[in-house]
Amino acid sequence: MQVINWDQTGMQLVPAGNACTYHTKNSLDVSVANGDDKRGYTAMLASTASGKMLPLQVIYGGVEGSLRVLPNVLCRATAAAKGFVFAQTPIRAACVNISLE
């Protein structure tokens, strides 16, 4: 019997995390390059109790029908060579699903 768990988790496009920077001591409002970037997307991680990962589903937000949201041809080709599939789904805004076939 297979036991499967999945969880949707938020990802950051710029995963800089706790970025550090140099600035004058005691200065207010120091901007960290790309560090405060909150642009994100979601990933669905699924695994089985037997130790397998299920294909990944990744959803990038965007305007429905806009080709802009689809990762570029080179990236898609690399991913496709590994058996991943790209599709645009009409859930609220447009999404991109990356999944293994």
Binding site: D7, K52, P55, V58, Y60, P71, K82, I98
Partner: protein, 143 residues
Amino acid sequence: MRKYIIGMIDSYVRSVVKASNGQLPVDQKAVLLIDCWSVHKNEEFLSWMKEEYPHLIILFVPGGTTSKFQPADTSLNRPFKATVKAAYHLWYAQDVGQQLQGHAVGEVKVGTAVGVMRDLSVGWLLSSWERLNGDASIVKKAW
């Protein structure tokens, strides 16, 4: 969510049954251990599941306990994200390193426009996923 069940979960369970070469029945039961997300708890979704996939048994991780009992939360999300982050830092460092050959420090500019990052993220996600999938012991430990 329905699309996810059809395209991902159901097709996975089917593939396991198929790979068993007749050892497992076509309606082999499987347990879906999921959290109390509103989308999962949705009445319409649950009755649809009962109707379409009676062999897929849904069990909920008790509300508020996902950090203890949900495998994804206990030990998969973190290494997954960490690998993505490491790949990002590697890319960033390489980009800066390349630009420093021929440019002054002040001229170095790393482009992180949405489109650029989205394209790059695909490769990072792929390698992170492969890392987890390639090591069953990490995944098993999560359970």
